[in-house]
Amino acid sequence: MQPVAILGAAQTRHVARRDDACYSELAFEVVAALLAETGFTHPRIDTVITVSSDFSDGRTISDMAVQDAVGAAGKSSSKVSMDGAFALAYAAARLTCGRYRTCLVVAHAKASEGRPREISRAAFDPFFERPLGPTDHVALGLQARRFLARGTVTREAVALAAARALAYANGNPNAHWRGALSSREIQLGPPVADPLHRFEVAPDSDGACALLLADLDTARAHAAARGVPVIRLDAVACATDRHGLGDRDLGLPGVLPQVARAAYAQAGITDPVREIDVAEVYDASAVQTLLWREGVGLPVDLLAGPAWNPSGGALCAQPGFATGLVRVAEVWRRLAAGEGRTGLAHGMTGFVGQAHCVGILRRA
């Protein structure tokens, strides 16, 4: 892939409910912040990818309702109706084809407006699964059982991962959940998806995120003019697994290892433990905080290798399909601030990680 770069990232605060803004206004908010941060204006945006879910928004062809708010009218625009991290692949393809120099990616979600469990239930097979009452949370519970049954980590380690995420989120002004709870307190908390308790399952958040990508020439000129580093997107890889929960071993990281290997090969990474400085993954549960480490080829010990979800991860803010794009924004922000040279950002779509996407960002 021809290298492209990420020029800037913006996100809202992620909260339980934003009554002051309808969802297109959330999208406007992050685009305005991104343009202010990068000094770009709408005429310099060549193409736009928006990320949204018709079911979540309750709007058929939900992307059309945010076109005005993101400034896409009159431009070539398209949509990703998957986790926002997958929009990186789309944006990179648009830039490397050579027709566009800049690409705006915008994801929004208002979990508070729909009913996330009901919406997730509607994604299950109507004959054999839906009558059983499955939701995204139920799938997380099944996955947790499978993962714990492998015996690679203890129940305690899962609760510790959740406690650690809350503690990290204390330093993240955009986090939905923060706190200082012990692993024991978490295990004594209200059950959400047996065996997982509150804070071991990601919250439902309202929020939005936007990124500005550009070809390398544009990025270099921008960096030189503003005295900021060039943050390249050196790899994007994604793959989809089998759909049915019964057709995968939920206790294993699925297609994530192959996706990570492909991304490492593109970026020339041979030793991820040493070469990656910061990683942000979409962990819908504290089991996934640990399981996706295995997926990207890192040891289960959370202290080994890169900073692991230093924002608190999805466990502390989960604004729907914007969640994976927030991972990219967090990695970008840390590299831009000089907290390391190489970062990994991960997103996923489908129950308990049916599809995975990994991007590798590098400060030039």
Binding site: A21, E25, G58, D68, A69, G114, F127
Partner: protein
């Protein structure tokens, strides 16, 4: 596989309920209706006036910062007949059909506003005719779309 004689289908009715935030601009418009006023947003940069009011200007993509009140009358630019039954999303009951709805250009607005018309026979309507907004009685207005009853033929535009 052995021969299938009777393919089977299941009826599935997922319940979809949404609790939409009107946001600051939408809330402003609904509060205006309660006062019997039609409010629009105005762009300081390109002077565009849009109704209902919204944050993003459709002309220059800037934030619309000013609210302006429009005269509750305008010109009917398009109309059609709704004859397909549906459940009113605000009341949950079927809205009586058929009826006409149309697109009204308020004086001073740069876009058109869609709403019910009092006239039920499209043969009696014409593009370009003046119409005026009719509100519920002041004591009955609560700050919702239904505070605006319909547009009826009027004078001026």
């Amino acid at each position: 596989m052995s021969d299938l004689k009777a393919p089977i289908a299941v009826r599935c009715t997922p319940e979809l309920v949404y609790n939409y935030a009107a946001g600051r601009y939408g809330s402003l418009f609904l509060q205006g209706l309660k006062e019997g006023r039609i409010l629009a947003s105005r762009c300081r940069r390109c002077a565009r006036t849009l109704v209902p009011p919204r944050l993003a200007c459709t002309g220059c993509f800037g934030a619309m910062e000013d609210a302006v009140e429009l005269e509750p009358r305008g010109e009917l630019l398009a109309f059609t007949l709704v004859a397909f039954p549906f459940l009113d999303p605000f009341t949950g009951i079927q809205r009586p059909i058929p009826y006409c709805y149309g697109m009204v250009r308020f004086a001073g607005a740069d876009n058109t506003f869609q709403y019910f018309l009092s006239e039920k026979d499209p043969a009696k309507l014409r593009v370009g005719q003046p119409v005026r907004a009719v509100f519920r009685a002041a004591a009955e207005r609560v700050g919702e779309m239904a505070d605006l009853l319909y547009f009826e033929p009027g004078i001026g535009g």
